[in-house]
């Protein structure tokens, strides 16, 4: 008996309209755990470098982990894994809410969607019974309405993931939403467009299944003991959410301002979590198994940017659609976030696209003729909102921007490639590598492109460290010495958290390495040591890298945009520029990769990945 799992993944072929069960083996789950670990293994098997991300040959994988479906803190998340239509490489996108637990309750550890339906469909899964239903009454509806309609049919205890019209229109910035108007997103890398390319509108899950826990009384006691200190230490997240630290972020030169060009932003104080709490916040949102509740629920009762009570903007949304566009009106930013949620658009990439557009407009590379008459001026919230509509509907320049920065800068031409701020095609999230050297290395080496979450070092580099990962002291954020090992160690821990699967913010509340291992062992009955745990994380990270190497990724792609490498932003980051090459040399050496960033045979042997050697 394997605890924590049902050992079942549903494979649903939308071309043949047939579903079957893939049975997992214990050896597989011990090596790859779940979430993005098993997801990466399946993606490697089902796709390759010839697979077009928007073709029926791509697969869309939804995975839970062994923690999901238990009382483990914030474990009701799920991971989406696919080949990205934005980057054409490995993609994973992590989502909060409750759908992950719903998936486990339906009796499954994961779902693989293959092929393409002839007409729009949605899938329902109830206690392992899978149905493919006609979605003609849902296609064209936004994510909030879709969620409501399916829940009316399946019942209020069901959980729904869906796409909006951005996904239907194959906009490469499209995301997948769950929780309806309380919108939690599998945001990044265009996963919503993959879903749309399969004519798949939504997946509703419902059930009564419960995973078995190996040491249940001890596990329950563990949760009980960890809860009060977690609530106490996370109070600022509960009160102010992810943007409670936004002013600090601006003060140290981390917050994106004017397409990553500017150092300071006076308006930052008007778009913080504290400001939101005094103005438009009505309550906070908890993912199902979370005792913190960092999510924001806002309402704008009157005026031009009126919005019904629902999901408010997170730090990333405020950074990318706000300060990065020189916009300092929290109401407009909230409205922009709501539009993105309804359309099913990634707020990070959409904000990045609009800021890129504003700079191209300022530099005269594009004009009003290209934008359908919009004057894309910095700080104009109304044009931000109008351009979101155009991106979702593929109108005018919105059609080009929705293709992502690599394709858009090629199409727009001029020197726009100089200010297309991405790595491997994935737009920067709202953290500046010029403010912290670990971010430079993390962004350059993350397996899905520019991403802070695959390493998640930014709050630990100059804030608290993680003693049981070997880091007792705060580091100097500009120093490069020791940062290669720092990033490697954090990437292994985060690979595990993305596989277990739970929320990374729980680390702030005390769920560090040893408590996480204890949680895993209590649920599964395994005896993972710290060495086992981190080696498994290393294996998973390397597997994702192998996928990308097969796609043609190598050292030439482990880099940063010219603006970030060459142009000091001033403000709190001063004249600091990342010394990426030095860190990268050391990083490859620590990882056991060759000069091109390819894992050596010895490394693959050590990590039990020899089956992935390409002959």
């Amino acid at each position: 008996m394997v605890f924590g799992y049902f050992m079942k993944i549903a494979e649903i072929n939308l071309t043949t309209e047939k579903a079957s069960i893939i049975n997992l083996e214990e050896e597989t789950v011990k090596k790859y755990i779940g979430g993005s670990g098993i997801g990466a293994k399946l993606l490697y098997k089902y796709t390759d470098h010839k697979t077009d991300a928007l073709s029926p040959e791509n697969v869309l994988i939804f995975m839970a982990g062994p923690l999901t479906g238990t009382k483990a803190f914030s474990s009701d998340r799920f991971e989406v894994i696919t080949k990205s239509p934005l980057t054409d490489i490995y993609a994973e996108s992590d989502c909060g809410g409750r759908w992950g637990e719903g998936l486990k309750k339906s009796g499954l550890d994961g779902i693989v969607i293959k092929g393409k339906a002839k007409k729009p469909v949605y899938i329902t899964i109830k206690d392992e019974e899978i149905k493919i239903e006609d979605a003609s009454n849902l296609w064209g509806k936004d994510t909030f309405a879709t969620d409501t309609i399916i829940k009316e049919k399946m019942g209020p205890k069901s959980d729904v993931v869906c796409i909006g019209i951005a996904g239907e229109n194959l906009v490469r910035l499209a995301c997948i939403i769950n929780e309806g108007k309380d919108a939690r997103a599998a945001g990044r890398a265009g996963v919503g467009a993959v879903m749309g390319s399969k004519n798949l509108k939504a997946i509703g899950v419902l059930g009564t299944k419960k995973v078995k826990i190996a040491h249940e009384p001890e596990f329950n006691q563990f949760i009980k003991d960890m809860t009060p200190p977690m609530i106490e230490s996370m109070e600022s997240m509960t009160k102010y959410g992810t943007s409670g630290g936004l002013e600090y972020s601006e003060s140290i030169g981390n917050l994106p301002i004017k397409n990553w060009y500017q150092g300071n932003f006076e308006g930052a104080k008007k778009i913080t979590g504290q400001y939101m709490a005094q103005t438009i916040l009505t309550k906070n949102y908890h993912c199902g198994r979370c005792v913190v509740g960092c999510g924001r629920i806002v309402e704008i009762t009157e005026g031009k940017y009126k919005m019904a009570e629902g999901a408010g903007p997170e730090y990333e949304t405020i950074g990318m659609l706000g300060s990065n566009c020189l916009l300092d009106d929290i109401k407009i930013i909230s409205k922009a976030g709501e539009l993105c949620n309804r359309y099913g658009l990634d707020t990070i990439s959409t904000g990045s696209a609009i800021a890129f557009c504003m700079e191209a407009y300022e530099r005269g590379i594009i004009t009003k003729e290209d934008t359908g008459g919009l004057k894309m001026e910095w700080g104009d919230g109304d044009v931000v909102l109008k351009m979101i509509h155009k991106i979702a509907k593929r109108q005018d320049l919105g059609k080009i921007l929705g293709e992502g920065l690599i394709r858009a800068s090629k199409e727009i031409g001029g020197n726009s490639v100089e200010f297309a701020i991405h790595v491997k095609g994935l737009d920067f999230p709202a953290h500046d590598p010029r403010s912290k050297s670990s971010l430079a290395l993390a962004f350059a080496t993350s397996n899905r492109g520019a991403c802070h979450l695959q390493a998640f070092t930014q709050d630990f580099e100059d804030g608290d460290a993680i003693p049981d990962l070997g880091y007792k002291n705060t580091l100097d954020r500009f120093e490069i010495k020791g940062k290669a090992k720092f990033v490697v160690d954090f990437q292994h821990l985060m690979s595990m958290i993305d596989s277990l699967h739970c929320c990374k913010f729980m680390i702030f509340g005390g769920l560090t390495v040893e408590p996480l291992i204890k949680e895993l062992n209590l649920i599964t009955g395994w005896n993972f040591t710290k060495e086992d745990f981190l080696k498994t994380g290393e294996r998973i990270f390397n597997l994702k890298r192998l996928y990308n190497i097969r796609e043609g990724i190598s050292r030439k792609d482990d880099t940063l945009p010219p603006r970030i490498l060459n142009y000091p932003r001033g403000g709190g980051a001063g004249d600091n520029l990342p010394s990426l090459n030095k860190m990268l040399n050391e990083y490859y050496q620590i990882r056991g990769w060759d000069e091109f960033g390819v894992p050596t045979k010895d490394t693959l042997k050590r990590l039990d990945l020899l089956e992935y050697i390409r002959k």
Binding site: S233, E235, S236, G245, I252, Y315, E316, L453, G463
Partner: protein, 82 residues
């Protein structure tokens, strides 16, 4: 005015700025006069931009809050942003 004691608790990495800090007990300070909390924190060496939330008991207070006897003050750093 007679002396009084306050208890300060620091979260995240903020405790690193405080000498003789105990994670279990926090820091006890004996004061002669009621002072603004921000002045106390700056004097202890906590960087101003790393103070995101100050609570006195269960209530958030401003940086200009005047502490009083038996206050339990909690100070939180910036976290989040993912």
């Amino acid at each position: 005015m007679s002396k009084f004691v306050i208890n300060l608790k620091f979260y995240g990495g903020l405790y690193r700025y405080i000498n003789n800090y105990s994670k279990e007990r926090g820091l006890y300070l004996e004061l002669n006069t009621r002072k603004k909390i921000i002045d106390i924190l700056i004097k202890l060496g906590v960087p101003r931009n790393k103070i995101v939330l100050i609570m006195a008991g269960n209530k958030p207070v401003s940086i200009d809050y005047f502490v009083k006897g038996n206050d339990v003050i909690k100070v939180f750093p910036p976290i989040g942003g993912g």
